[in-house]
C-alpha cells in the first residue's frame, strides 16, 4: 500500500519533470523563428556596421580596406558633418518642443470639448498615419512659391509682401520642414497625453477649484505634474523620431538649399548611396546610433524621477 503511494508520487514527479522539459522545447520552438529573423536581419547587419565603419568600402567593389579610425577622424573634422549635426540638433529640439506643446494643447482641447470629441481626436490623429513622402509632397505643393496655396492666401488677404519661397530660401527651408513635420507628428503624442489626462481623477480639479485655484493654477499644480508619466514617454519617442526624420527632407528639400536642411540621417544616405562611400556612411550611422542610445538612457533615467505617482 505504502509503496504504491510512493510509486504514484514518483510518477507524478516524473510527469511533472517531463512536462517542464516539454515546455522547454516548446519555448525554444516558439521563440526560434523570431530569434533567427531578428538576429539575421537586425543584429548581424548592425555588427557588420561596426566593422564597416573602420573601412573605406565603397559599397560595390570587393575591396574592403581597414583604415582604422580614419572615418571617425574625418567626422570629427568635416564641416559638412558638423553642419548636419547642427541641423539635426536644431530640428530635434524644435520638433520635440513644438510637437509636445501642440500635443498637450490638442489633448486638453479634445478632453474638454463637449461636442464631436471623437471626431476631433480622429482629425488630429489622422496625419500621423500617412506617409512622410506623400504628406511631404503635399506640403511642398502648399508652400510652392508660384502656385502654392499658402502664398495665394497670403496674397489674397493682403499680406503679399510676406510671400517668400518657403522651401527654396535657405532662411525658411528649415522652419518649413519643422512645421510640416510637427503637423504630422503631434497627433500621435496627443493620444498618449489624452490617455494621461483621462487618468487624472476629476475630484482633484474640483477640490482645487473649491479651494479657489484658477484654471492656470490647476494646470500648473495638478494637470502638469500628473502628466509627467505620459511626458516621459512622449519626449523619448518624439526625440527619437525627430532624430530619424528622413522622408520629409527627401521629398521637400533634398537636404538643400545648399546643405541647409541636411541632417545626420540624410547625410548617411547621401554619402552611402549617392557618393558611394559606404564605409564613411556606416561610421556616421554609428554616431547616430550612439546619440540615440545615450539620449534614451539619459531621458529614461532623468525624467522618471519627476514622475508623480497617484
Amino acid at each position: 500500500m505504502a509503496t504504491s503511494i510512493i510509486n504514484a508520487d514518483k510518477s507524478v514527479i516524473a510527469t511533472h519533470k517531463k512536462k517542464k522539459k516539454k515546455w522547454q522545447s516548446y519555448a525554444l520552438l516558439f521563440i526560434l523563428p523570431s530569434f533567427i529573423l531578428y538576429t539575421l536581419f537586425v543584429i548581424v547587419p548592425t555588427v557588420g556596421s561596426i566593422y564597416l565603419s573602420f573601412t573605406s568600402w565603397d559599397g560595390i567593389s570587393s575591396d574592403v580596406r581597414y583604415i582604422g579610425f580614419a572615418n571617425f577622424v574625418e567626422i570629427w573634422n568635416s564641416p559638412r558633418v558638423h553642419n548636419a549635426l547642427k541641423n539635426t540638433m536644431v530640428m530635434t529640439i524644435s520638433l520635440v518642443l513644438l510637437e509636445n506643446i501642440a500635443a498637450i494643447a490638442l489633448a486638453m482641447m479634445v478632453d474638454k470639448v463637449r461636442w464631436f470629441r471623437n471626431l476631433f481626436r480622429s482629425v488630429f490623429y489622422f496625419p500621423t498615419l500617412l506617409s512622410g513622402i506623400v504628406m511631404g509632397f503635399v506640403w511642398s505643393m502648399i508652400l510652392n512659391y508660384n502656385f502654392g496655396v499658402f502664398n495665394q492666401i497670403l496674397d489674397r488677404i493682403g499680406l503679399g509682401s510676406y510671400i517668400v519661397d518657403w522651401l527654396g530660401n535657405p532662411k525658411y527651408a528649415m522652419i518649413s520642414i519643422i512645421l510640416s513635420t510637427a503637423w504630422k507628428g503631434a497627433g500621435y503624442y496627443m493620444i498618449i497625453y489624452l490617455a494621461g489626462l483621462q487618468g487624472i481623477p476629476q475630484e482633484l480639479n474640483e477640490a482645487a477649484s473649491i479651494d479657489g485655484a484658477n484654471g492656470r493654477q490647476q494646470f500648473r499644480h495638478i494637470t502638469f505634474p500628473l502628466l509627467a508619466g505620459s511626458m516621459t514617454v512622449c519626449l523619448v519617442l518624439s526625440m527619437i523620431s525627430a532624430l530619424k526624420i528622413f522622408d520629409q527632407i527627401a521629398v521637400m528639400t533634398d537636404g538643400g538649399p545648399g546643405f541647409e536642411t541636411e541632417t545626420l540621417t540624410y547625410i548617411i544616405y547621401k554619402v552611402g548611396f549617392g557618393e558611394l562611400r559606404q564605409g564613411f556612411g556606416t561610421a556616421l550611422a554609428m554616431v547616430l546610433f550612439l546619440i540615440i542610445l545615450i539620449i534614451t538612457v539619459i531621458q529614461v533615467k532623468f525624467l522618471q524621477k519627476r514622475e508623480v505617482q497617484l
Binding site: W23, A27, F30, I31, P33, S34, F35, Y38, L40, F41, V42, V44, P45, T46, G48, S49, Y51, G59, M109, V110, R114, N118, L119, F120, S122, V123, F124, Y125, F126, L129, L130, S131, G132, I133, V134, V138, M141, F147, G148, Q152, I191, I192, A195, G229, S230, V233, C234, L237, K244, F246, T265, I268, Y269, F273, G281, A285, M286, L288, F289, I292
Partner: protein, 278 residues
C-alpha cells in the same frame, strides 16, 4: 450674467476654437484629395478653388499608362504578407517569453528589446550587402524578412504584457485535457489576444504601407517598387505634372482613410497600451 450662461459661452468658444484648429489640421489632406480631381491647369490657376468637374484623367493615366498598378500590387503584397508573417511568428515568441520565465528567456527578451533602439540607418548599408549574399536582393522576400525582423522587439513587448493578463488556469485546464502547448497557444491564448493583434496589424501594416527608404534601396531598380517609392520617383520625373502626382498620393491616402475609419479603436488602443506599457 449667470453662472450658467458664462459656462455656456466658454463651452461654445472652446468648441469653435477646436473646430477652427481641426479645419486647419485637416486642410492638407483635404487639399490633397481635392487636387487629385483637378486638371493640371486648374491646380496651377487656382490652388484653393474646388474642382469644377470631376476630372478623372490623371487616375486613368496613372492606372493605364504607367507602372503604377504594379506598384500598388507590390505595396499590397508586401504589407499583406509581412503582416501575416508577423502575426504567425511574433505572438508565439512573446507568449513563450512570458510563460516560461527563466534566465535564458529573460535574456532573449532584453536582446529583442535592444533592437527597438537601433535605427534602420545604423544597419542599412551592411543589410544591403547581406541581402545580396543571401540572394534576397531584388525581390519581395527580402523586405518581408526585414519587416518581420524589425517588428520583433516592439511586438514581443506588446504581447508579453498582454499575456500576463491572461489567467494561467485556462491553459492548465487545457493541458490536463491533453492539449499540446502548440494547440493551447493557437486555440486558446491567441484568440484571447485578438485586440493586441488587431492593434499590431493596423499600426505595423500602415508603417509598411508608408515605408519609403528600405523598399527604395532593396527592390530592383528599373521596375516599379512600391506606391510610395513610385510617387517619389514621379515627383522627380514629372515635376510639372502635379495632377498626376496628386492622383497617386490620393490613391495612397484613401485606403489609409478607409482602414482608419473602420478600425479606429484599434489604432488608439495600440498606441495607448504600447506607450504606457513601454
Amino acid at each position: 450674467m449667470t453662472m450658467q450662461t458664462r459656462r455656456r459661452i466658454a463651452e461654445i468658444s472652446l468648441f469653435l476654437i477646436t473646430l477652427i484648429v481641426a479645419i486647419l489640421f485637416f486642410f492638407p489632406i483635404f487639399y490633397n484629395l481635392m487636387s487629385a480631381f483637378k486638371s493640371n491647369a486648374e491646380i496651377m490657376r487656382d490652388a484653393v478653388a474646388f474642382p469644377k468637374t470631376l476630372y478623372l484623367d490623371s487616375f486613368k493615366y496613372l492606372l493605364t499608362e504607367t507602372e503604377f498598378p504594379r506598384a500598388i500590387l507590390n505595396s499590397l503584397i508586401l504589407t499583406g504578407v509581412s503582416i501575416v508573417a508577423q502575426v504567425l511568428i511574433i505572438p508565439m515568441a512573446g507568449y513563450a517569453i512570458e510563460r516560461r520565465n527563466v534566465r535564458w528567456t529573460r535574456f532573449i527578451f532584453v536582446y529583442f528589446l535592444a533592437g527597438m533602439m537601433i535605427p534602420f540607418q545604423a544597419y542599412m548599408i551592411p543589410l544591403f550587402k547581406e541581402l545580396r549574399m543571401l540572394g534576397l536582393y531584388g525581390n519581395l522576400a527580402g523586405p518581408i524578412f526585414i519587416y518581420v525582423a524589425g517588428a520583433v522587439g516592439f511586438g514581443c513587448l506588446l504581447y508579453t504584457s498582454f499575456v500576463k493578463g491572461i489567467p494561467r488556469e485556462i491553459e492548465e485546464a487545457a493541458e490536463i485535457d491533453g492539449c499540446s502547448r502548440y494547440g493551447i497557444f493557437w486555440k486558446i491564448v491567441f484568440p484571447l489576444l485578438g485586440p493586441v493583434t488587431a492593434s499590431m496589424v493596423v499600426l505595423n501594416g500602415l508603417g509598411i504601407w508608408n515605408d519609403f527608404l528600405m523598399p527604395m534601396l532593396v527592390l530592383p531598380s528599373g521596375e516599379a517598387k512600391t506606391m510610395v517609392v513610385e510617387i517619389y520617383r514621379y515627383i522627380g520625373e514629372f515635376s510639372s505634372r502635379w495632377d498626376m502626382i496628386f492622383a497617386g498620393t490620393a490613391m495612397s491616402v484613401m485606403p489609409v482613410l478607409i482602414v482608419f475609419i473602420s478600425l479606429q479603436k484599434y489604432f488608439v488602443k495600440g498606441i495607448a497600451s504600447g506607450a504606457t506599457k513601454g
